[in-house]
Structures are given as structure tokens and as C-alpha cells.
């Protein structure tokens, strides 16, 4: 992820239209060599089309794609220095594991000892040593995925493309494979470009994430920047859980800002916003960044006053819903304005979850660096 090397993939003003439907709309992106890059978005947002254009299975209607500096326009999939792991894995059912992995080498004319060594090495890498003669129908979904990975890695591509690699696995296996994919990527040093609709997957694996919405890049950032500084309401809402309130910007100086939200109250920020005074803006506030206090609001007001003027960053409400999840409890709270706000609270010690219950009156505060002002 250094800026001195040229990007391994350059997507330049690429659009793709199917008839009258625009799947990808004038996207430009650079992907750096060696990074774990994730295309994140809801289904139908165009992220898979983008991946398939990199692989060569779709041709851009406009724009061009460069891989390692070379223009890929007119180069068919079988001549591109990238390999793909398909959503269905697409393991060849009539070939053994070894034959599957050796297939690309056979086509490339690599045979004999070298081919055998590379197949063995690739299978070792995905922890499938000893499975050489197994047929795909004797394997689990997770194992078939490893075969697909080995089959691509054995080709030593410049870029490995992964289309929803974990969507067909069950929850426990998915969590494990997230770790393993990250480890694998670090070990082989190949650039990974992954498509997913699962924000947890994206946040936990990626170096950088491009959030795609309606064929366009909504935001391109590291996982923590995406979560902490979402650029707009779509990203704030799609990545993680969030409370969004409409408001008016009442103060905007370099080191502080204030927004008046009819739904939530007066919000104070310890940094400036580059928005016009009086503009309509939105405040995004993550559930885990709101602190609950038992009835009697002195504590909440005092806590808020530590880094905000009095009367700011503080609200009252009534617990209307609770969802105990073991490590955390989710609260749905009706504010005095009638709006609802979601608050999550970690159960760090055993009795934390007994502090609050249904229909309790509560007060809340949040820190001055927690709210995010969104202009769109």
C-alpha cells in the first residue's frame, strides 16, 4: 500500500450498461499491489459486474481497465494475469482435486515435476495436503472452496479476484475463513480483490474498502475511516448500525460545530464542519457511542458537560425494546420527541445487563467526538 509503486489495477472512467440499465456508472479506482481490497455493497449495486470486468468476463461500455500498467481492452479472460474464485467455486466435478488444481498449469504447458510441485505447494497453502485424489463430490463446501483457491493460486496471478467467497458457508466456518483468508493473503503477498455484501466480512478482512451504491463508488476508505467517518447517509447506514437525525447547522467554526436536531436535541462537536451556516444536515450516531444512565439526569448532564456546553449532547427517553445478546444488550429507546434511538451497551461484567429493563426512564449522553455530520 505504498504510493511509490504504480497501482496494480487502474479502473479509469469505466461504465457498463446492459441495455437501458446502467450497472456501473463512470467508476475510477486504483488498487495497490499487495493490498486486500474489498468491493462492498448491496446486491445489484454493480460490484460483481466491476469484478467481472477486471476478469474480462464483461467488457466495459466505456472507459478502460489497466492491470500492472497494461491496458486490458480487447484481452480475453484466458490471457489476463488475474485469476478468480467464483461464488459457486466452480470446481470441475469430473476431475480429482489434483487435476482441478493442475488444470491451469496443463493449459499453460507446465507439466511433469514442476507441475506436481506447484500443485502440492498450492494444496499445502490451503491446508488440503493429502486430498489430491479426492473427487469434489466427496468434499464439504468449505473444502471445495479451498480447491478453488488452490486452483487459482497455483497460477501465481498478479491479482486474485474473489466473488462473495464466504457467502455459501455457514456462520462458524465463515468466521474462521475470514481469518484464514487474511492470513493467506499476507503469506502469498498477492493482491486480493473481494466482492461482498457483508459489512462484517469487509471490515474484518480489508485494507481498503470501496462502498458501491447504484453503480457508483460511495466512499473509498480504510475500514475504520469508513466506520468512524462515513461520507454520507448511505455508507453510515450500510456499514454498521447507526442512528440518523435530521438537523440544522447552527455553529461551524474550525474547532467546534453545533447542530440542532428536532428529533434528538442539541448536538455539539469538537471539530469543524465545512458546511454553510443554517444548512440542512444529518447527524449520525452509532449505538455503541451512546452512554445510558439510570433515572435522575444529573449524571448524564455532568458527563456530557465534560466536553460540551451545558444542554448539549444529552437526551432523555424511555426503554421500549431490549435485545439481550450476551456480550451486548441492544436497547430501543423512545426519545421525548417521539423519535426512536438505538443504543447498545456492552455487558462487560456479569451484572451489567440487570441495570436497565423495559419501560425504564433513562437519560443518555455522548462524547463531543462521537457524532458525525453528514451533508448528503
Amino acid at each position: 500500500m505504498t504510493d511509490t509503486k504504480p497501482p496494480i489495477i487502474q479502473i479509469q472512467n469505466v461504465s457498463k450498461r446492459f441495455g437501458k440499465v446502467t450497472a456501473v456508472d463512470d467508476v475510477s479506482l486504483d488498487i495497490q499491489a499487495g493490498e486486500f481490497f474489498v468491493l462492498l455493497g448491496p446486491s445489484g449495486c454493480g460490484k460483481t459486474t466491476l469484478l467481472r470486468m477486471i476478469a474480462g468476463f464483461e467488457l466495459p461500455t466505456e472507459g478502460r481497465i489497466l492491470i500492472d500498467g497494461q491496458d486490458m481492452t480487447g484481452i480475453p479472460p484466458n490471457k489476463r494475469p488475474v485469476n478468480m474464485v467464483f461464488q459457486s467455486y466452480a470446481v470441475f466435478p469430473h476431475m480429482s482435486v489434483a487435476d482441478n488444481v493442475a488444470y491451469g498449469l496443463k493449459i499453460a504447458g507446465v507439466r511433469g515435476g514442476e507441475a506436481n510441485d506447484r500443485v502440492a505447494e498450492a494444496l499445502e497453502l490451503v491446508k488440503l495436503g493429502g486430498f489430491e485424489s479426492r473427487m469434489p463430490d466427496q468434499m464439504s463446501g468449505g473444502q471445495r472452496q479451498r480447491v478453488a483457491l488452490a486452483r487459482s493460486l497455483v497460477m501465481r496471478p498478479k491479482v486474485l479476484l474473489l466473488d462473495e467467497p464466504l457467502s455459501a458457508l455457514d456462520a462458524k466456518l465463515r468466521a474462521q475463513m475470514q481469518f484464514e483468508l487474511s492470513e493467506l493473503q499476507e503469506k502469498v503477498g498477492i493482491t486480493f480483490v473481494t466482492v461482498t455484501h457483508d459489512q462484517d466480512e469487509a471490515l474484518s478482512m480489508a485494507c481498503r474498502i470501496a462502498v458501491i451504491n447504484k453503480g457508483d463508488v460511495s466512499q473509498l476508505a480504510t475500514p475504520s475511516d469508513l466506520y468512524e467517518y462515513p461520507a454520507n447517509r448511505f455508507v453510515a447506514d450500510f456499514v454498521g448500525s447507526v442512528n440518523i437525525f435530521e438537523g440544522k447547522l447552527t455553529l461551524d467554526e474550525p474547532d467546534k460545530a453545533a447542530v440542532d436536531c428536532p428529533g434528538l436535541g442539541k448536538v455539539y462537536l469538537n471539530h469543524g464542519v465545512t458546511g454553510p451556516h443554517g444548512a440542512d444536515v444529518w447527524i449520525a450516531l452509532r449505538p455503541e457511542k451512546i452512554y445510558l444512565h439510570v433515572p435522575g439526569e444529573g449524571k448524564a448532564v455532568r458527563a456530557a458537560a465534560q466536553d460540551a456546553p451545558e444542554g448539549y449532547n444529552f437526551a432523555r427517553g424511555k426503554i421500549k425494546g431490549m435485545s439481550y445478546l450476551g456480550d451486548i444488550t441492544l436497547f430501543e429507546i423512545e426519545l421525548e420527541s417521539g423519535a426512536r434511538i438505538r443504543v447498545s451497551r456492552p455487558n462487560l461484567s456479569r451484572h451489567d445487563q440487570e441495570d436497565f429493563t423495559w419501560d425504564d426512564k433513562v437519560s443518555m449522553h455522548w462524547r463531543a467526538d462521537s457524532p458525525v455530520v453528514l451533508l448528503g
Binding site: 476478469a55 484466458n78 467464483f86 459457486s88 470441475f92 466435478p93 469430473h94 488444470y103 499453460a108 478453488a148
Partner: protein
């Protein structure tokens, strides 16, 4: 109720069972059981005309199967893979020979070969089987097309893309991925064509020249002459041959697939 259904079925199957049992009856007439014998099988297999008819039938079936397989598979792949003018029309009419009554097919071929082409009937073997073989291809290849198409419908296109992604060109994809996927359907389609051709009577009857007979046509002419246990034996042989071929097709492609084809 179960007993009732059982009885009904027994009644429906009775003619077939009787046909087979009495081929082993040591009597010229079919009505009373006189003891077990295989002499009518010996007699049937010693009947030169019957054996010649069987050889003809097998030859026609083999030729028609090969041609149907090639034509049917090409048609299936083209209809599945490509877009071309009149595709809708061809798709809709390709199974026409399956639907059209065989008597009409027979009449059509009779007129076509005898009146239109004035196809010579005095060719030497195996060229005298040409007209019959062409007619058989007509009703066999749509079955191959159907079996292969329903198999292709289950093909995961990502496998094709995976092969390309690994460097394979169009021909390598076809050879390494598509053909292996189609194989069970090709085998089943071939066996199906073979049995359909082997068993056909009506269309063969109308397209065969005066001196060209097939096994079913010979059985027919034997019955017209007299219903002897030899006819039973010949029929039983044909039934067993058919069932064995169908069983192999079933085994190779699974019960569901054959249900889709027949």
C-alpha cells in the same frame, strides 16, 4: 382398495405376462400349458429371414443412433448457447417429430420417398436401408436434443468461466468441461435412440421396400400368417433387448433423467 388396484394392474399386465410365459409352452397353440420348452427360441433363431431382419434392425438402429447423436447434440448445444435468426421457431418445432402421430409420419415418408424422390428400392445391402434410416433419424434426434438440453440446463456457467480464467480457449472449454458434463445425456440419448429405432414398426413399414424387412416388420408378417409360439419367442426377445437397453440408460442417467426423456 389396494387389492382392487392390484387386480386392475394384473389385468392390464396379463397380456404381456401371458405372451412371455407361453413362448416357453410346449404346444403349437397358446391356450393350454403343456410343459416347458425352449424349442421355439431355437426355431426363431434358426429362422434365416428372422435373423436377417434382426441384423437389418440392428444396423438401422446403429446408423440412426450415430446420426441422431451428432445432429441432436449439435442442435442442443446451439439452441442452448447461441442466439441466431429463427431460433424461436426452430426451438418450437424441433420436437415436432415426437408429437406428430406415427401414422402421419409414415404416410409422409411414404409419399416423400416413393412419389417424390422415387427412391430406388433395389439397392444392395446396406444401402437398401437408407430410406428407413433417414426416417428413423427424424424421430430419434429430437429425443437426443431434449435429453442433452435438459442436461445442459443444469450446467453451471461459472465452470466455463473458471476454465477460461485458467487459460483455456473455446475448444479446451468444450473438450474439458462441456463434453464431460454432457456425457451421461449423450449415453442416455444414444440408448434411447437405439431402442426407439429398434422397436419402430409403423414408420419402418411405410418406408421399407418390398424386400427390406426389419425385426418388428417380420414379427408383424408372421402374426398375419399365424400366431405361433415362435412369434411369442421373437416378441419376448425384442422385449428383453429393449428392457435391458432402457435399464442401462436408467442406471447411467438416474431415474429422474429418463423420466424427463421418455
Amino acid at each position: 382398495m389396494r387389492a382392487w388396484v392390484g387386480l386392475v394392474m394384473l389385468f392390464l399386465y396379463a397380456p404381456l405376462i401371458e405372451l412371455m410365459i407361453f413362448s416357453f409352452n410346449d404346444s403349437k397353440r397358446n391356450v393350454v400349458w403343456r410343459g416347458f420348452t425352449t424349442k421355439y427360441y431355437e426355431k426363431a433363431l434358426g429362422n434365416d429371414v428372422l435373423v436377417e431382419a434382426l441384423v437389418n434392425s440392428l444396423t438401422i438402429a446403429a446408423l440412426a443412433t450415430i446420426a441422431s447423436l451428432i445432429l441432436g447434440a449439435i442442435a442442443a448445444v446451439m439452441l442452448w448457447r447461441f442466439r441466431f435468426p429463427l431460433k424461436g421457431a426452430i426451438d418450437g418445432t424441433i420436437s415436432l417429430p415426437i408429437i406428430v402421430p406415427e401414422i402421419c409420419m409414415g404416410v409422409a415418408f411414404l409419399i416423400f420417398f416413393a412419389k417424390w424422390l422415387e427412391w430406388p428400392t433395389d439397392l444392395i445391402w446396406p444401402f437398401n436401408l437408407g430410406a428407413i434410416t433417414i426416417a428413423h433419424i427424424t424421430f430419434c434426434f429430437p429425443f437426443v436434443t431434449m435429453v442433452v438440453r435438459s442436461r445442459l440446463a443444469t450446467f453451471n456457467r461459472e465452470q466455463e468461466e473458471a476454465a477460461k480464467d485458467l487459460g483455456a480457449g473455446e475448444w479446451a472449454v468444450f473438450r474439458d468441461v462441456l463434453i464431460p458434463h454432457m456425457r451421461p445425456a449423450l449415453v442416455a440419448g444414444a440408448l434411447l435412440s437405439f431402442t426407439l429405432s429398434l422397436d419402430d414398426f409403423v414408420i419402418t413399414y411405410f418406408t421399407s421396400g418390398p424386400d427390406t424387412i426389419t425385426f418388428p416388420v417380420k414379427v408383424y408378417s408372421m402374426v398375419r400368417f399365424s400366431v405361433t409360439p415362435e412369434v411369442n419367442a421373437a416378441s419376448t426377445l425384442l422385449i428383453i433387448l429393449t428392457i435391458v437397453l432402457t435399464a442401462i440408460a436408467l442406471k447411467l442417467q438416474g431415474v429422474k433423467a429418463i423420466a424427463e426423456t421418455h
